[in-house]
Amino acid sequence: MIMAELFSSIATYTFLQNAIIAAVLASIVCGITGTFVVVKKITFISGGIAHAVLGGVGIAFYLSMPPIIGAFIFAILAAITIGLVKLKANQHENTVISALWAMGMAIGVIFMYLTPGYSTDLLSYLFGNILMVSSTNLYILAGLNVFIILIVLVFYRQFVAITYDEEQARLRGLPVNFLYILLLCIIALTIVVLIQIVGIILVIALLSLPAAIAGLYTKTLHAMMFSAIGLGMVFTLSGIAISFSLNIPTGATIIIICGLVFLIAINISRFIYKKN
């Protein structure tokens, strides 16, 4: 009954169709990039990039620019800055990342305060609003998808090398610093895509949990990526369906599904591990 209602709504409403396309696009990049984030254990760095994005969104609002442009610029700036901090400063790097994280958000808050008549847009950037993804944004998301996939295809083996054994990659003469910052930029672009779905506050869960679950049962990196893409689609699409049926926020619903499946999966894998 509910399903029938949902399908007829999808056929009727463009915003639901857009939401579904956005969810599929997000799941693809999320699975690819999230896998690198999980195996390289850089969720904290990714969190720093994600939160710094609010600064760009705030400034974009203030200048009456499309917020996604501000998000894009700040995400890339944050990725490069954090990458350089990580590569150059051996000490206090976590403190520096926390500072950038908080300063990005603070800049966002101040510019939003200065913007006359700001309102619900701030909330939709903090918590996401997949039901408000415009057709223009869909084109941007599709473009980012193509770009991210292309870069990962070109540098796949080198990314694997620096995420698996950075020291050996350096000995072999790979451009480790360049590759590391490029990877962070790819993460930044993915975050811009995912923020459309779940918002800044929840983005790290969507970026890391599908890949973390996939990592529990896959034996190669590409298998982990494909699994994570599949899981991401299941989580985002079922999140849209459930939130639409119950009339609750979509982003939060998606994250709760991700989190619950992750907790169940990690307990099952521990159980199997103990048995063996």
Binding site: F155, Q158, D165, Q168, T220
Partner: protein, 248 residues
């Protein structure tokens, strides 16, 4: 084969290194000849890891000069196969053994997904040489310590290094496996210079031709010259000497 004795391929000349003013290595003067098999022995904190990092060019000496094949350590990197301790590897990383070996052939111009056919063939023949070909499609973290060590040796060998540098290759493997690994290294020693770092005296004596005792200072011993003495004696005398020398 040409005799390259008295033609050292690794030279450390009066090398000093300190971390934040705290001396770790002092006055290290060592020469290692082509096809030597050298054990660098020393207790924890003796500066063994620092010495490796200096040889690999990850650290620069405060004073003194390091020359490998007549080049600086960074320029000599392509001639060195480095085998780190397997315990430093992330056990959650999903990767097949064969891909770890092939990965070491990557250069800055290795784009897209696939390796050349020759690379895969070479990787398999190395796994065969080290008797682990059946593990090619297993996950690295499922292997035993000795098997992991062999994978990392295969990875280092794929670039046909002139020098093989191993960091505690027998740490946390049992005695049988330890002997197997030393036998394998002895086989490789026929055309490769080998330096290995270890903190246990054990088996190593019957395989190496030189021993470098390290404890901030270094003293080099040739096994052949020291007949009648067990390695343990050399080591304990040397460490007494070093302790005396360091006023420890």
């Amino acid at each position: 084969m040409t005799d390259k004795k008295n033609n050292p391929i690794i030279i450390l000349d009066m090398v000093d290194f300190s971390y934040n003013g705290e001396p770790v290595l002092e006055d290290i003067t060592i020469e290692i000849d082509s096809n030597d098999f050298v054990a660098i022995l020393g207790p924890n904190g003796a500066g063994k890891t620092t010495l490796i990092k200096l040889l690999l060019g990850f650290l620069k000496p405060g004073k003194g000069k390091i020359s490998i094949l007549g080049k600086t350590p960074i320029k000599a990197r392509k001639y060195i196969g480095y085998v780190p301790q397997y315990s430093t590897f992330d056990k959650d990383y999903p990767i097949h053994v064969i891909d770890i070996v092939k990965m070491n052939t990557l250069t800055a111009n290795s784009f897209f997904l696939s390796y050349k056919k020759e690379v895969t063939e070479t990787a398999f023949s190395l796994l065969e040489k080290l008797e682990i070909q059946t593990l090619a499609y297993r996950n690295f973290h499922e292997l035993s310590g000795g098997q992991k060590q062999r994978v990392l040796i295969a990875r280092a060998l794929i670039n046909e290094p002139k020098i093989l540098l191993l960091d505690e290759p027998t740490a946390s493997v049992d005695a049988t496996m330890e002997k197997d690994i030393y036998d394998t290294l002895k086989m490789l020693n026929e055309n490769t210079t080998i330096l290995l770092i270890t903190h246990d005296v054990g088996f190593v004596s019957s395989y190496v031709n030189k021993i470098c005792c390290l404890n901030r200072f270094a003293s080099m011993h040739s096994v052949a010259e020291l007949t009648g003495k067990s390695l343990f004696d050399i080591y304990s005398e040397s460490s007494k000497f070093l302790q005396h020398h360091c006023n420890l």
